[in-house]
C-alpha cells in the first residue's frame, strides 16, 4: 500500500510539473484529490489495512496530500504570473503616453527666474520699482542735464498729467536706473539691489520694442572699485552663458556713472576668436559704471563716505544671446503667437 501512495504522489507531481495550463491543473487536482481521485480512493482503503500499519499509512497519506496540494498551489501561482507577464508584454510601448497637462511659461519669465537667482546667490536682493515715474527719478537725480536728448519727447513717453513741482513731468521710465534712486532713498548702505521691471522707449523696429524689461544692479558701500564691478560682471556672464565665457569692459559714457563702461561678452560660437556672428570675438551686452557722485548726493548718500557701481541690461537682449534662441525680430517675443510660445 505504501508503494501505491508513493506511486500516486510521483505520478501527480510529474503531471503537475509537466503542465503550464491552469485548466489542466484543475483537472489534475480533481484526478488525484477529487471525490473519485486516486489519492482519495487510496485513502478509503484504510479499513482494509492491518491495524498496526494504519497509523503509518495515515501519516504517509496526509503527507502525500500536502505535497500534491503544495505543488498545485505553487504551479498555479507560477502560471498566473506568467499569464500576466505575457499580457503586459503584448502592449505597444511606442504608443503615446497619457500625458498630464503641461503649459508654458513665457521666455521672459524663464529668463527673469534665471537672472534673479544668479544674482541672489551673490547677495543682490530682487526688487521691482514703478514703471510710471517722475522725471526726477528717471533723469534729474541721475545727473542728466537739462535738454539732454533722452529727455526729449522724441525718445521718452510722457504722461498727460500735471507735472510735479518738485519732481517734474510724469513719464514712463526708459530705464530701470530710476530704481537706483528709489532704492537709495529707501535704504542706507550697504546696498546690493537688483531692480527688474518694465521700461518703455519710443521706438519700434526689428531690434526694438516699445515695452521691454531691464535688470539693474546697484551696489553701494565703502571703497567699491572697478575691480569689484568686473567681478560681478564676470560672475554673471559665466553663470548665465557658461563657464567658458568671459566679460570685458570698454570706455563709454552715461550721465549717471563715472567712469562708464560698455560691457561685452565673449562670443560663444567662436570662443572669442572672431567670426561672422560677432565683433572680433565679442558681443555687446549693455552698460555699466561707477555711480556718479552727484547721483549719490541726489539720493541722500554722502559721496565722500560711500561709492558704488551699477549696471543695466535688457532681459530680452541677454535672452536672445543665449544659444538656440536667435529670434530675428524682437517683436515676435510680444506677438503672443501660441505656436511660438509653445516652443519653450
Amino acid at each position: 500500500m505504501e508503494e501505491e501512495l508513493i506511486r500516486i504522489k510521483n505520478n501527480a507531481l510529474s503531471m503537475i510539473w509537466d503542465t503550464d495550463d491552469a485548466k489542466e491543473l484543475e483537472e489534475i487536482k480533481l484526478q488525484f484529490l477529487g471525490r473519485s481521485g486516486q489519492l482519495t480512493l487510496a485513502m478509503k482503503q484504510l479499513p482494509k489495512i492491518d491495524p498496526e500499519k494504519r497509523k503509518e499509512f495515515g501519516i504517509l497519506a496526509n503527507e502525500v496530500k500536502e505535497t500534491i496540494e503544495g505543488a498545485l498551489k505553487e504551479k498555479t501561482h507560477e502560471t498566473k504570473t506568467q499569464a500576466v507577464k505575457s499580457h503586459v508584454s503584448k502592449i505597444d510601448v511606442t504608443n503615446p503616453g497619457i500625458k498630464p497637462p503641461l503649459g508654458h511659461l513665457h521666455l521672459i519669465t524663464q529668463a527673469i527666474s534665471e537672472i534673479t537667482s544668479i544674482f541672489e546667490q551673490i547677495g543682490f536682493g530682487r526688487v521691482r520699482y514703478s514703471e510710471v515715474e517722475w522725471d526726477w527719478y528717471s533723469f534729474g537725480a541721475l545727473n542728466f542735464p537739462e535738454g539732454h536728448p533722452a529727455r526729449d519727447d522724441w525718445e521718452t513717453f510722457f504722461i498727460d498729467a500735471e507735472p510735479s513741482k518738485k519732481y517734474g513731468p510724469m513719464l514712463l521710465t526708459p530705464h530701470t536706473s530710476s530704481g537706483q534712486i528709489r532704492e537709495m532713498e529707501n535704504s542706507k548702505p550697504p546696498i546690493k539691489m537688483l531692480n527688474l521691471a518694465k521700461c518703455y522707449r519710443r521706438q519700434s523696429d526689428v531690434s526694438h520694442v516699445p515695452m521691454f524689461h531691464q535688470f539693474e544692479g546697484l551696489a553701494v558701500d565703502q571703497n567699491l572699485s572697478i575691480v569689484n564691478l568686473k567681478g560681478v560682471l564676470d560672475y554673471f556672464v559665466k553663470s548665465y552663458f557658461g563657464e567658458k565665457r568671459s566679460a570685458r569692459i570698454r570706455p563709454y559714457h552715461f550721465e549717471f556713472t563715472e567712469p562708464s563702461f560698455e560691457v561685452d561678452v565673449s562670443c560663444g560660437v567662436c570662443d572669442g576668436k572672431g567670426c561672422k556672428l560677432c565683433k572680433e570675438g565679442w558681443l555687446e551686452m549693455g552698460g555699466a559704471g561707477m555711480v556718479h557722485p552727484n547721483v549719490l548726493k541726489n539720493s541722500g548718500i554722502d559721496p565722500n563716505k560711500y561709492n558704488g557701481f551699477a549696471f543695466g541690461w535688457g532681459v530680452e537682449r541677454v535672452l536672445m544671446m543665449k544659444e538656440g534662441i536667435e529670434i530675428d525680430d524682437l517683436r515676435l517675443l510680444y506677438s503672443n503667437k501660441l505656436e511660438f510660445l509653445e516652443q519653450f
Partner: protein
C-alpha cells in the same frame, strides 16, 4: 555719433609703425569704440563711435592724440605730432561787414574775406572726403568740410558778393520768419533759432546748422567770407530737432565746442584755401571773443585713484597717462594737481573724471575681477511677492496654461470704462498704444483673436494695471488674469483652477457669489478677490487682484492630530427648487451638529442634489442611534428652510 576716420590722414598727426588693426584694437579697449575697420584700395577707414560727452573727438587730430596715448601704453612706439598752422595773414583792409553779435548766443566768431578761384579739389582731398562719407563738391565747400573733419570745429563759407550787406546782425529768430536753406528747402521758424540777418532783415545764415540759399557759394564765386561761429549748444539742438536738419555741423555744435579750437580751425582753413583754391586774404581777421575759454585745476587724491580703480597705480604712471592726453600734472605728496586743457574743460570737472582718464588708458582688461562679498542691509523674506508669483505661474503651467506677455499700452477701444479715467500718453508712438490699461482681459481676448486656428486656448498673464490718482503717480496693481477658449468651456473648470490655486497658497475662506452677468464674483473673507466672466459657451475669462492674494496667502501649516475613531459616511439626496445654492444647503447641514466633519455636493441630476456627509467624533465610535438623530435634524431643517423633499 559715428565718424569715419581715414588712416593716412590720421597718420599726418600720428607717428607710428602700428598697423590699422592694432590701432583699432587699442582705441576700442582704451578710448573709443572702433566699430569697423575697412580696407578700401590703398586706404583704411575706421568707423568710430564717439560718445556724446566727447564731441572733441569728432576730429582726426584729436583721435590721433588718443591713439598715440593708448598705443604707447601698450608699449608700441607712437608719438602725437601736432601741426602748427601759420597766423592768418591780415590784409590792411578793415573787415567790411559789421557783425553785431549776442554773447548769449555766440561764444566766438572769427571771419575773414578772401579772393578765391573756385574749382574741383585735388584728388587727395576729394578722396579723403568721399571715404569719410562727405560728398566732394568744389574746393570751397570741401575746405569747410575738410577742416571740420580734421580739427573738429564746423566752419562755413559765404559768397561775399551775394551777401551784399553792411551789417550782419546775429539774433534769435522770431516766430514765423522764413528762410530757404542751401539745399533749396524752405522753413518757417518757430522762433529761438540763432540766425544772421542782413541790412534788409533777410536771414542769410542759420548759424551752426546750415547755410542759406541766398548766400551760398556758386559756380562763379570770386570772393568768400570764411566764417567760424562757436555757439550756444542748447539753442542749436532745439533748432536742429525742430526743423529736422541733422547736419554733421549741427550734431557737433549742439554738444558745445572749445572756442580755442575756433582759432586752430580758422588758421587751418585759411591755409587750405591758399593751398587748393588760390586763396588770398583781402581783409583784416575778425575775432569777436566774448566768452573766453577757461581752464581749471582738479585735485585728485592718490588714495582715491587706487581705491576707485581697485589696484595701486603709481603717481608717475598717472602723470604719464594724463600728460599724453593733454593734461598738465603736478605731483604732490598725497594728490595730483591736474590742469585741464580748454578742449576738455566742459566735461573733466571732478576727480572721478580724471580717474576715468587714467583708468581707461591704464587698461580695464589689466584689472582683476573680485566679487564684493558684503551683504545688503535687508533681511531676507523667503515668501515674498516674487515667491508667490513664481508659485502661481508654475501651478498654472502644470495645469496646462500658457503664459503671455501683452503690452501695457492699449488703444482707446480696448479700454474698459470711461476714457477720461485712463492714464494717457502725451506723445504716443501709435494710436493703438495710447492708454495704460486697467485690466488685462481685453489684451488676453485679443491674443485669443490673433490665434484663430487654435481650437483650445488656455492662457494667463500676471502684470500691472494702472489706475489714475490725483497729484500723484498712478497706482500700479498687479493682476492675475486668464482666458479659456474651448468647445463648451466649463465655468467649473475655471472655478476649479482658482479653488486649487488658493488652496495651494494656504487660503481656505474663499467664496464664489452670483454676479449680475454670467459668471461669479470671488471673495476671500470680506475682500473682493476678482471675478470669473462667461463671455459665451466657448469663452471664459477671469481676473484676480494679486495684492489680495498676497494679503491672504500663507505658508503656515497647522497640524491636526489623526482621527482615532473611524468616520461614518452617508449620502442624502434632496430635491430642491431651482435657484437654491448648493453651498447654502451644505452650510445649513453642517450647522446641525459639530459631529458633521464635512459636507460636499456629490452628484446632481435635474433638481435632485446628493450630499455626501461625513460624521466623526474624536473620542468615540458613533452609534447608529446618534447618526439617526443627526440625520433627522438635517432632514427637518433642510425641508423647512429650503422647502425641499428627501428623495
Amino acid at each position: 555719433m559715428n565718424i569715419k576716420i581715414i588712416d593716412s590722414w590720421l597718420r599726418e598727426y600720428l607717428d607710428t609703425k602700428a598697423k590699422p588693426a592694432q590701432i583699432a584694437k587699442d582705441l576700442s579697449l582704451r578710448a573709443v569704440s572702433v566699430e569697423r575697420t575697412e580696407k578700401i584700395g590703398d586706404e583704411t577707414v575706421y568707423d568710430i563711435e564717439v560718445t556724446t560727452n566727447r564731441p572733441d573727438l569728432m576730429s582726426t587730430r584729436a583721435l590721433a592724440m588718443e591713439a598715440a596715448a593708448v598705443l604707447s601704453e601698450e608699449k608700441i612706439d607712437a608719438q602725437f605730432k601736432d601741426k602748427k598752422f601759420p597766423e592768418a595773414s591780415s590784409a590792411d583792409i578793415s573787415f567790411p561787414i559789421k557783425i553785431v553779435d549776442d554773447p548769449t548766443l555766440t561764444n566766438r566768431i572769427m571771419a575773414v574775406i578772401m579772393e578765391v578761384k573756385i574749382g574741383p579739389s585735388p584728388k587727395e582731398i576729394s578722396q579723403r572726403l568721399e571715404l569719410s562719407g562727405i560728398r566732394s563738391l568744389n574746393n570751397l565747400i570741401d575746405v569747410t568740410n575738410y577742416v571740420m573733419r580734421e580739427i573738429g570745429h564746423p566752419t562755413h563759407v559765404f559768397d561775399f558778393d551775394l551777401l551784399n550787406t553792411k551789417k550782419m546782425i546775429i539774433r534769435k529768430s522770431k516766430p514765423g520768419e522764413e528762410l530757404t536753406t542751401l539745399d533749396g528747402k524752405t522753413y518757417k521758424l518757430t522762433g529761438g533759432d540763432i540766425v544772421g540777418v542782413n541790412d534788409n532783415g533777410e536771414i542769410i545764415d542759420l548759424l551752426g546748422v546750415m547755410g542759406t540759399k541766398n548766400s551760398v557759394v556758386q559756380n562763379n564765386t570770386k570772393r568768400i567770407m570764411f566764417f567760424l561761429d562757436n555757439l550756444n549748444p542748447r539753442l542749436i539742438r532745439q533748432t536742429s530737432m525742430n526743423l529736422g536738419i541733422r547736419t554733421e555741423a549741427a550734431i557737433i555744435n549742439e554738444k558745445g565746442i572749445d572756442p580755442e579750437l575756433t582759432e586752430i580751425a580758422f588758421k587751418r582753413g585759411v591755409e587750405l584755401f591758399k593751398e587748393i583754391a588760390g586763396g588770398k586774404v583781402i581783409s583784416k581777421v575778425l575775432d569777436i571773443y566774448p566768452n573766453k575759454a577757461k581752464t581749471h585745476t582738479v585735485n585728485v587724491e592718490l588714495n582715491k585713484i587706487n581705491s576707485l580703480i581697485g589696484v595701486d597705480v603709481p603717481a608717475s604712471k598717472s602723470e604719464e597717462i594724463l600728460k599724453k592726453l593733454g593734461f598738465g600734472v603736478k605731483i604732490n605728496k598725497d594728490s595730483l594737481e591736474v590742469l585741464v586743457p580748454t578742449i576738455r574743460a566742459a566735461e573733466v570737472l571732478i576727480p572721478e573724471d580724471v580717474i576715468e582718464e587714467i583708468a581707461r588708458v591704464y587698461g580695464y582688461h589689466k584689472l582683476p575681477s573680485v566679487v564684493p562679498a558684503f551683504l545688503n542691509n535687508k533681511s531676507n523674506s523667503f515668501a515674498d511677492t516674487f515667491f508667490y508669483e513664481d508659485k502661481i505661474k508654475n501651478a498654472l503651467k502644470y495645469w496646462g496654461y500658457t503664459e503671455v506677455y501683452t503690452y501695457s499700452l492699449i488703444s482707446e477701444d480696448m479700454f474698459d470704462g470711461p476714457i477720461e479715467k485712463a492714464v494717457k500718453l502725451k506723445n504716443p508712438l501709435t494710436s493703438d498704444m495710447e492708454y495704460m490699461r486697467t485690466s488685462l482681459v481685453p489684451s488676453l481676448l485679443k491674443v485669443v483673436k490673433e490665434n484663430k486656428s487654435a481650437e483650445m486656448i488656455r492662457i494667463f498673464e500676471l502684470a500691472n494695471t494702472y489706475h489714475k490718482k490725483t497729484n500723484d503717480l498712478p497706482e500700479e496693481k498687479l493682476m492675475l488674469s486668464g482666458v479659456l477658449k474651448k468647445q463648451n468651456a466649463s465655468f467649473f473648470e475655471i472655478k476649479g483652477v482658482i479653488e486649487q490655486l488658493l488652496t495651494d497658497l494656504g487660503i481656505k475662506n474663499y467664496k464664489f457669489k452670483q454676479r449680475g452677468v454670467p459668471g461669479a464674483e470671488v471673495f476671500i473673507g470680506q475682500d473682493r478677490l476678482g471675478y470669473i466672466e462667461i463671455i459665451n459657451s466657448n469663452l471664459i475669462d477671469f481676473e484676480l487682484g494679486f495684492e489680495t492674494i498676497l494679503k491672504h496667502a500663507t505658508l503656515k501649516k497647522i497640524y491636526k492630530p489623526l482621527a482615532k475613531f473611524p468616520p461614518i459616511v452617508e449620502d442624502i439626496t434632496f430635491v430642491l427648487d431651482e435657484g437654491i445654492n448648493s453651498e447654502d444647503v451644505s452650510e445649513e447641514i453642517k450647522l446641525q451638529s459639530f459631529l458633521i466633519r464635512e459636507v460636499t455636493l456629490k452628484d446632481q441630476f435635474e433638481n435632485a442634489k446628493t450630499f455626501h456627509i461625513i460624521y466623526q467624533a474624536e473620542d468615540r465610535n458613533l452609534t447608529n442611534t446618534e447618526i439617526a438623530e443627526i440625520r433627522g435634524q438635517i432632514i427637518t431643517s433642510i425641508q423647512s428652510k429650503f422647502k425641499a423633499s428627501v428623495k
